[in-house]
């Protein structure tokens, strides 16, 4: 099962990289989002997966008892999801503004810093 998840992560990355290489700005944003998803899953899966066990201490116990999910990657991924959301929003805003200012979204034509029309 873990191997399958690893393959899925690979596919997410591959898709993301493919999108990054396209010349359309919207694709670029999609690529970033896909890589973001892949990276989150990578962090989550890298330390091994435990099924049906959470990282919550059961009532009556004082420490997290062995088999349990690793809480640290979860905490890291949780922040990463939210940051990823912020990043996506920022990219969208940037994309929106670029498109408005330049009137096109062909990355190969973004060779100049001058935006004077």
């Amino acid at each position: 099962m873990e191997t399958l998840i690893a393959i899925l992560i690979g596919i997410l990355f591959a898709g993301g990289v493919y999108c990054l290489l396209q010349r359309s700005l919207v694709r670029l944003v999609i690529g970033i989002m896909l890589i973001g998803q892949g990276a989150n899953l990578l962090t989550f899966a890298a330390s091994g997966l435990t099924r049906k066990h959470t990282a919550i201490i059961k009532s009556g116990e004082t420490i997290l008892q062995a088999p349990h999910a690793d809480p640290l990657p979860q905490a890291l991924v949780l922040t990463a999801i939210v940051i990823g959301f912020g990043f996506t929003a920022f990219c969208l805003a940037l994309l929106h503004r670029t498109y408005k200012t330049l009137g096109h979204d062909d990355l190969e034509k973004f060779n100049t810093t001058d935006t004077d029309k």
């Binding site: 099962m1 873990e2 191997t3 399958l4 393959i7 899925l8 992560i9 596919i11 997410l12 990355f13 591959a14 898709g15 993301g16 990289v17 493919y18 999108c19 290489l21 396209q22 010349r23 359309s24 919207v26 999609i30 998803q37 892949g38 989150n40 990578l42 989550f44 899966a45 330390s47 997966l49 099924r51 066990h53 959470t54 990282a55 919550i56 201490i57 009532s59 420490i63 349990h68 999910a69 690793d70 809480p71 640290l72 979860q74 905490a75 991924v77 922040t79 999801i81 939210v82 996506t88 929003a89 920022f90 969208l92 805003a93 994309l95 929106h96 498109y99 979204d105 190969e108 973004f110």
Partner: protein
């Protein structure tokens, strides 16, 4: 505290200046001189210790891990330099208050020159070479700002840039030399380096160290072939030239050479390098000075010549020559600062610096003339001035040396030329018939105090050399010999070879002075040719460097995001693959067991949706696919015991879809810009990257750490942080700092989005 205080005081004053200056009317700005004067007094208070050959050290740790500390050390050599810096500094600030009265930006001047002053003081007081280098570069930068003070003038900017490039370039070479030296000896402390001197001199890197450090010293002290920046730096306001380009900054190079003589000196490599470079500079510069008409140019060349003399004397490496070097440095600082200020006063009061137009100023500018005369006599080497003492020692040490013939003849030529240069400035403009076209008047008192004081000191210290011997020469010599013994200094040594040489110099010099007009007329054009050649080759070098930079930038930064991406990602994937395969071997593919068909179907579906998201030409399909992927991943989180993640992910996915829905009509439609071949390449490239990542994950899953970090969290979460949800406890307690950083980033992103979108709106309404 004491040495730190004397440096910090000036720094603080510099930074306070912009705020204070507005309360001080221009007429009272000589009050700024109180700052260096206080430091001067502080340093003077240690004179009695210095006279006994003691050194005062203060250590402050700065970056101990790299052996970089603020070690201040006041010994004989730095005592002399510190007195010159603060003493002449005070007089220069007084002078500047008169000279710059009309200038709008003179607050800026006071600020920068005080920063320079503090940096220079830090430079001479630092025992740690790294700290010294930092101060050294600070003097370079502040001098750049001062040379380019009239920044509206393109010529001044160009010359300031030239001075900066030459001296900062040399400084970088010196930094490399310092690092090598530190590596070889294991310390950056000059006082400790001395104990390793033998080892350093026998090291195979010795020559490299000497060359690199000398590059720094020679550029700073404008030795041939780096001499050209100093005459060009005369674009600075005269108080700056007087202070930086005669009395202090250009002395930093020779100071460093003197400072490191006990460490690096005494070899024949050192001897020849310094003697030839110094000697050549001294003769070339003095003879070039003969053909100029501009007062400041003449002064610049005579300064170059004297710097050459000092370099030569340090290179000679005998105790006698070192004595002469100290005397030369001291005498030169006194008379050259005076002559610069005189030149500035003449320029200020008459509006010209052309000596062919300046005649007969003695009547209108008597005080300036007095100062000029005293300083000129000192430079020319008349007894009983300090300049005479210095020259006597110069001749004496040359006679003592085994390179006698060469040294004596070159010393004779340069001294004779310096005589002419001295008279051209100190006497020529004041004597003779008045030029009726020039309406001059005497300089204001603020502009007289400096030159007159220094001119008188040139005479007084020559007449009564006792204090110089006691407080300056003997202690400074100790920095060279590393042992202290008092030295006597006498004006009259009886009739000896040196005195006879001196007298011949004076006679010949006077004869040459009479011929000055002829020399200048015959040699017109030579100077320009020489100068232009150096300027031109510098400019050419700079231009081809910029061309190279442009070419290489174009090569690396093609402006195509695609190629950047390919380079970056292949570097990432390549390194990862290298580490994974060659260092760790192939990952083991196992744990394929217990896969339910439904899970398999689910994962395959996710993979297909991913591919759809990448290739679809419909914006809506892409958006929906992204949503499906997000919700699919939510399921994975849910399955593997991460309810918090599942919650967050599902909410974020929902919000992302909403966000996209809102703007999707505003976004451009998908277009296929790439050709089929390019796409095929992209697909293959992407697959390789994806496979690499898969390898990485499998590899990581196979590893297990003996003591995972989470173990501590798992054990203390409830007992110490009172929370059962360990993930949340990590977020808000154990690693709350990270979370804090994250919400700051989130806030900034929010403001950024707002800015980008709102600006838009404004444009729409316009």
């Amino acid at each position: 505290m004491f040495l730190l205080l004397s440096v910090a005081l000036i720094f603080m004053a510099a930074f306070a200046t912009p705020a204070i200056a507005r309360f001080i009317p221009h007429k009272q700005r000589f009050l700024f001189a109180l700052v260096p004067a206080t430091s001067f007094a502080l340093i003077c208070s240690k004179a009695s210790d210095i006279a006994q050959g003691l050194a005062i050290s203060e250590d402050y740790t700065w970056i101990p891990a790299f052996d970089i500390n603020l070690n201040f050390r006041l010994d004989g050599l730095s005592f002399l330099m510190a007195l010159l810096i603060t003493g002449i500094g005070a007089l220069i600030l007084t002078y500047a208050s008169g000279y710059l009265k009309g200038y709008e930006a003179n607050t800026r001047f006071y600020t920068i020159i005080q920063i320079f002053m503090a940096a220079m003081l830090g430079l001479v007081l630092s025992d740690n070479l790294i700290a010294m280098f930092i101060f050294w570069e600070l003097t370079t930068v502040s001098s750049f700002l001062l040379v380019g003070f009239n920044h509206e003038n393109p010529d001044a900017r160009k010359k300031a840039l030239q001075a900066l490039i030459v001296t900062a370039g040399g400084g970088l070479a010196m930094f490399a030399g310092i690092l090598l030296l530190g590596n070889v000896a294991g310390t950056y402390q000059v006082s400790e380096l001395i104990t390793h001197a033998e080892m350093i001199k026998n090291h195979k890197l010795y020559e490299a160290i000497v060359i690199l450090i000398c590059l720094g010293a020679f550029t700073k002290s404008a030795q041939f072939p780096f001499h050209f920046w100093l005459p060009n730096a005369m674009a600075a306001p005269t108080p700056v030239s007087a202070y930086l380009h005669s009395a202090t900054m250009v002395k930093a190079g020779v100071f460093l050479l003197a400072r490191l003589t006990p460490v690096l000196g005494g070899t024949s490599f050192w001897l020849h390098l310094l003697v030839y470079v110094g000697g050549f500079t001294m003769i070339l510069a003095a003879s070039l000075g003969l053909i100029y008409r501009d007062l400041k140019k003449i002064l610049a060349y005579s300064t170059l010549s004297v710097l050459g003399i000092i370099t030569l004397l340090i290179g000679m490496g005998t105790e006698f020559s070192f004595k002469a070097a100290i005397m030369m440095l001291f005498a030169h600082a006194l008379y050259k600062a005076t002559l610069f200020m005189v030149a500035g006063s003449i320029d200020h009061e008459t509006g010209t610096r052309d000596i062919t137009r300046l005649r007969g100023l003695r009547k209108v500018m008597p005080w300036t003339f007095a100062a000029a005369g005293l300083a000129a006599l000192s430079q020319a080497g008349f007894p009983p001035f300090t300049g005479f003492l210095a020259k006597e020692y110069f001749y004496g040490s040359a006679l003592d040396h085994n390179m006698k013939i060469l040294l004596i003849s070159s010393a004779f030529i340069s001294s004779m030329f310096l005589f002419v240069l001295a008279f051209k400035i100190g006497f020529h403009p004041f004597l003779g018939r008045e030029n009726k076209k020039i309406h001059a008047h005497e300089a204001p008192p603020t502009m007289l105090i400096g030159p007159v004081t220094l001119g008188l000191l040139s005479l007084l210290f020559g007449l009564f050399p006792g204090p110089i011997a006691k407080y300056i020469l003997s202690p400074a010599l100790a920095s060279f010999n590393t042992t202290f013994h008092p030295v006597k200094l006498k004006l009259w040594h009886g009739v000896n070879t040196a005195l006879i040489l001196s007298l011949i110099t004076l006679t010949c010099g006077f004869g040459l002075y009479k011929l000055r007009k002829k020399i200048r007329q015959n040699a017109t054009g030579v100077d320009d040719k020489l100068n232009i050649q150096f300027d031109q080759s510098f400019a050419n070098g700079l231009e081809s460097f910029i061309k190279f930079a442009k070419w290489s930038t174009k090569l690396i930064q093609s402006g195509s995001l695609r190629s950047y991406m390919i380079i970056t990602i292949s570097a990432f994937a390549g390194l990862l693959l290298y580490i994974l395969l060659y260092v760790g071997g192939m990952p083991e593919f196992y744990k394929f067991s217990h896969v339910k068909p439904i899970t398999l179907a689910f994962l395959v579906a996710l993979a297909i949706v991913t591919i759809v998201a990448c290739t679809t030409l419909s914006r809506m399909t892409a958006l929906l696919s992204l949503g499906v992927i997000g919700f699919g991943i939510t399921l994975i989180y849910m399955m593997y015991g991460a309810p918090d993640l599942a919650f967050t992910q599902i909410l974020v996915e929902t919000l992302t879809v909403v966000m996209f829905m809102v703007v999707i009509h505003k976004l451009p439609r998908f277009k296929d810009f790439s050709t089929r071949r390019k796409k095929a390449f992209d697909a293959i490239f992407a697959s390789i990257v994806g496979m690499t990542v898969t390898f990485l994950v499998i590899k990581a899953q196979n590893l297990s750490s003996k003591n995972p970090v989470s173990q501590i969290y798992a054990e203390t979460s409830y007992l110490e942080a009172h929370g059962r949800n360990v993930v949340n406890v990590i977020l808000v307690d154990f690693r709350a700092f990270d979370t804090f950083g994250e919400i700051v980033v989130l806030s900034i992103a929010g403001l950024g989005v707002s800015l980008l979108m709102r600006n838009n709106k404004k444009e729409d309404t316009e």
